[in-house]
Symmetry: C2
Subunit: 712 residues, 2 copies
């Protein structure tokens, strides 16, 4: 039996780096099969390259239309053909209209009437396009100005005139784009009202913000690319919220008062589109208010409620009105220590806490309007899992999936059906069509084979340790070297992120392992990863343990991981390395300079070196300002620790990183030179915070080479 | 006997890197003793920290004054004390006046009368200060504007008004500074007339030149530091020459015509200060003209002569009038293939070629007005030497030194006496006082002990090989590892520069060896260096062999060196490395990517990567423009060779290098990433083209570490 296994292992082939890292030539040959689905009201639709088919409750498909049909309709309208149907959308339940991208526009094709029902055109260089399906208009930006396209119908390019909502947009004054550096859940800058008449939008004045000089070295002569970047403790931008009326063509601004040092987040419309709700936060981020405005006059109507926290409040979720009751909405808060769903009325009164427990709601998915319940995901079953649940207005929770692994949901319009896509450590990817109510059973739509079955996959283990506080469970993932021999001693590399809003270990396919970890295991390394206190989905206390001293508690937890690693007989305690990116680059550099006797080799990518160089919104949430927390900034700054460096540390940064600006890495290099220590350095000119495509392959070859040079 | 040597060697200690590299803590403990001398007319003066003494013809010293005397005079005048007398100057022969720097001014102290005779004050932030001893005025610049201080005497800070020669100075419009990027021998931007009434100055309009965005990462938020940098083939700056009259306070400009794509070089005054002479050069640098202007009207008086060359003319020496005949001047030219001295009259007629031969004048020192002869240095005796000669108006040459080694000269006012400072491979430093005429013998003023006698110095050899052309002799320096064992096989590292205007091997102390070479020899490397065709002092054909394809012939010569190295039984041909800086960084990267099978490890510092990123003046001289020589630029660009990289190559650059701008290195790194090759990188944030002080120690530790990691 043992013999059989060995023979089988020998038949399997080793991975190439291209098999494992996004950007690799063969990467997509080795991810589990996927299938594209969309909802057309409550009708599930399967999208293929050349056909679109309906899927019935038993999973049976029936062709709805083909790409030939669509392209023949487009050809008749003198419009460019589409190449595939994978991006088809069905915005109008009941109408035989499919939305497809076509030559820079969005085209609405009626496959039944065989006509182009409408074309939503924007300027050729439009960004941030936001379509309103109610009116058929699109909001978009060009060069930081905001425009609204003419309403629906076919328009003639020569005569169309889009409304310019703003005229004075510039790098200093930005309209219709995401603000506050995408913190507080903000991902966009335009918000159509439910009926489509009004458009709320962000306006950001950042003229008073310091300019970070990025340089484009790919130009004939290197060129300045100025970027507005507000650093911790320095002057921040000022945001206001406008409301554009597509009928009067007039804009009013919400009367929110002086925007200095305030965050306007989580914009939501009332269903009658008469009110706009925002969660307003002070710069210190410890006091949030839900405020209601009159959308026509801009006047403040009411402050519905306040939320305060001694450390910070982090509103991430706009309120959502119940589809069956315009007087009630749900609100997600961690005010009891975990992210849970609360029911409020429009007077601001809390009617109920719908979910509760020492676990977190991960994703608010939507509503089942038939059962008047909310569909959401949480890790209630196990901290490493994400499962699908519904909760009704009385707080009765129903599990909607198999209770294992990591599930994501596409909910139908009424919320009565869902597509449940999931994996688990032993399940590559399954997709099921499942009713969210009643006794209907899931219908399997796809069972993806495990693409790594043909490779020599190293052994992976997940377990928990006690954090440095002696109480909290933290989870780790351990990967043994491929073709592990327990009598040998191997070098070990810790992959670390460690910051908020992220985790590395979960119950998804292969425990969420990263391709590079597998690659390194194949090179003969023990790979280790631990989600320390401060990481996501474990509640507020777990996250806030790091407040005002990022890295300090996180490192203590990582050292618990090192203790465990060193206890393993096959780990060579003299050859321990560490690698991480971004917050993980900060952790890597912190570990190398705080525990120089422990870590022989490190590779830090795009690191934070001193939080004073990081931006206001994220940085001050966790660190307050350099003025109000000088000891915390001093304690966590790696500039003062540069002289502690003993091992080999390679620091890598994107030449145009606009998240952790190059000043971090370059200041550290300067500090090391001044302290007579010897880090190594690499950069990816032209890249931002992360390397993509073939650069990502190069990067991981580079990182691997470094460990092979100095740790192997 | 062999035993004795070994015992002696064991008594000697190894070098530390601080002993060998400028910037090291003990560097100045280990350079040969030096002594400071100045001429006071024809009276030699010895400068010490606390005393100044006269030196008679037999070398006997007699104290002239002490620092106590000077500081007591300064104290009486309420002026700050001086700390040492090493920078004393004696601008007025016969007058008991010493010039000393004192609190940002230059002060003229009469040590006999015990008074402050004059103070030459400039603004506190003055740069480019240029004192006219005839008038006691100083020209200086502040923020790119040119000012002239009030004439002599003590001035009261509150009431002094300096004349502003320009008002509109800026980064775009620069007054009174060196122009044309210090090429063509230009080192300054102001030129006092012989009698001191007029001030010729450069004005450079560089508004049309592209701005290179340097970034200062040491600021709280990184800041843009714009630098005007004209790149090969692109729009260049426009220079004009003004003449400011200190009596009328008016400025005229020389009527030289459209300055577009022209170089105005080698400004010289006629002794009567009525004329200004310039050598004017076209952008193609193949046609020079000596042009005379009326200094009062600015009108062009005459073109005295033209010089043309199929490749390039490089005027580096202003004409110099004979002190005894205002109608004649000397001119230095390579028009016969070697740099020699010619005698002309003011009609532009060549009267004589005073020096001739297959060797070069290295330095035009001055005149002996008694014998009516010229004192100069040349390598006539041996290509590796610099010796002192005089030549009279009939071309009769007299050797003035011992005919060995490497000599430099300080000539007395009349030119009848000189201080000859020299070293040779076996002489650390001797200083002699020598008459330049008659039969007087040199008097030894200083015999410096060899400071390396207490160290274990590796064996050094110098020899010649045939260049790749099979004909030309090129010189190399070979250093054996410290404690060399001929039965062992050692790794070898080539240090290379290879560009024009420089050499590495000469007959000075220890053959001009670099400290790092000794350091590497001590680490167990064979060190090799070869001055290839293209380097200095070997004549025009030797230099111009590289025309329009920099690096190509140079590399062929270096490969002859490699051939020789490989023939040595103690060199391991599989472990050959290369290191160089600037042009040498270009050579290193070229060699690593052109002969990837030969070189295992390289370290390239501040490299040129593509000549299109280098500046107009130097770059186009050797390469013409990218437009007129596309094949030459393509052939020598390392961007296209990035894919050839096989060995380990570390590229290092100054973060604010304004000579070889960071775009060179960063473009190469980008090209390597795109070509899937793996160079290493390091930078010195805030440093320019060269690392100084402790950064230089760090740099050489870094370079050494790299070879130790990968070549040892």
């Amino acid at each position: 039996m043992a013999l059989t296994t060995i023979i089988m292992a020998q038949d399997k082939r080793p991975f190439t780096i291209d098999d494992l890292i996004p950007g690799g030539k063969t990467y997509y040959d080795n991810v589990p099969e996927y299938a594209y689905y969309a909802w057309w009201g409550d009708q599930l639709v399967k999208l293929d390259v050349e056909t679109v088919a309906t899927v019935d409750a038993k999973g049976k498909t029936k062709e709805l239309f083909s790409i030939q049909t669509i392209n023949s309709i487009l050809r008749s309208a003198n419009m460019p053909a589409v190449r595939n149907l994978l991006y088809a959308k069905f915005p109008y339940a009941g109408k035989t209209i499919v939305e497809l991208p076509s030559g820079g526009s969005q085209v609405m094709v009626d496959w039944s009437a065989k006509t182009v029902a409408a074309t939503i055109k924007t300027a050729p260089n439009a960004k941030n396009t936001d379509i309103c399906y109610e009116s058929g208009q699109a909001a978009y930006t060009v060069a930081h100005n905001l425009y609204v396209s003419r309403a629906g119908g076919q328009s003639d390019e020569a005569t169309r005139i889009d409304a310019a909502v703003s005229l004075d947009g510039s790098l200093d004054l930005v309209y219709g784009e995401s603000v506050h550096r995408n913190e507080f859940g903000i991902k966009k800058g335009t918000f159509w009202s439910p009926k489509g008449r009004l458009l709320a939008f962000y306006r950001m004045d950042q003229s008073m913000v310091t300019t970070y000089p990025q340089v484009d070295v790919s130009a004939r002569v290197a060129e300045l690319v100025p970027d507005k970047y507000p650093m911790a403790g320095m002057t921040s931008h000022k945001v206001t919220v406008g409301v554009y009326d597509t009928q009067t063509l007039r804009t009013i601004y919400l009367d929110a008062g002086d925007p200095t040092d305030r965050y306007f987040t989580n914009i939501a419309w009332s269903p009658d589109e008469k009110s706009i709700y925002m969660i307003e936060l002070n710069r210190d981020q410890n006091h949030a208010q839900l405020v209601q405005y009159d959308a026509t006059s801009g006047k403040k109507v009411a402050v519905l409620f306040d939320e305060r926290n001694g450390k910070y409040v982090e509103p991430m979720h706009p309120i959502q009105f119940l589809p069956w009751d315009d007087t009630k909405f749900i609100y997600l808060s961690r005010k009891d220590g975990y992210l849970h769903i609360y029911l409020y009325n429009t007077k601001g009164e809390q009617l109920a806490q719908l979910t509760k427990g020492e676990w977190e709601v991960i994703n608010m998915v939507g509503f089942n309007t038939k059962t008047k319940s909310i569909v959401y995901t949480s890790n209630a079953i196990h901290p490493l899992q994400q499962n699908i649940f519904s909760v009704d207005m009385r707080g009765r929770i129903t599990g909607l999936d198999n209770g294992e692994g990591w599930h994501t949901v596409q909910l139908s319009q009424s919320g009565t059906m869902m597509v449940d896509t999931y994996s688990s450590p032993t399940v590559a990817r399954n997709i099921e069509l499942t009713p969210t109510q009643g006794k209907g059973k899931p219908v399997r739509l796809l069972t993806a084979a495990e693409p790594w079955d043909r490779f020599r996959v190293p052994e992976m283990k997940v377990g928990s340790l006690k954090a440095a506080d002696g109480v909290t469970d933290v989870y780790y993932r351990l990967i043994l070297p491929t073709d592990f021999d327990p009598s040998k001693r191997y070098p070990a590399v810790i992959y670390v992120y460690g910051g908020p809003h992220a985790h590395n270990i979960d119950a998804s396919r292969h425990w969420g392992v990263r391709g590079w970890d597998i690659w390194m295991a194949q090179q003969g390394y023990v790979m280790f990863c631990l989600d320390n206190r401060g990481s996501e989905h474990r509640g507020l206390a777990f996250e806030q343990a790091t407040f005002r001293q990022l890295g300090v508690e996180e490192m203590k937890d990582q050292m618990k991981g090192v203790e465990y690693l060193k206890s393993l007989p096959y780990v060579d305690a003299d050859r321990i390395g560490v690698h991480g990116w971004s917050f993980g680059g900060f952790m890597t550099t912190s570990l190398m300079t705080t525990y120089p006797e422990t870590f022989k080799v490190g590779v830090a990518g795009g690191p934070v070196i001193d939080w004073k160089y990081y931006e206001v919104m994220y940085g001050e949430r966790y660190m307050d300002t350099p003025q109000s927390n000088p000891e915390g900034y001093a304690k966590t700054s790696l500039l003062g620790k540069a002289g502690n460096l003993k091992g080999r540390l390679l620091v890598i940064y994107g030449g145009n990183d606009n998240t952790c600006v190059p000043q971090h890495t370059l200041s550290f290099i300067r500090a090391c030179i001044d302290a007579d220590t010897y880090p190594d350095l690499f950069t990816y000119p032209g890249d931002e915070h992360n390397m993509m495509g073939t650069d990502r392959i190069h990067l991981h070859n580079k990182i691997t080479q470094y460990f092979n040079d100095y740790l192997k």
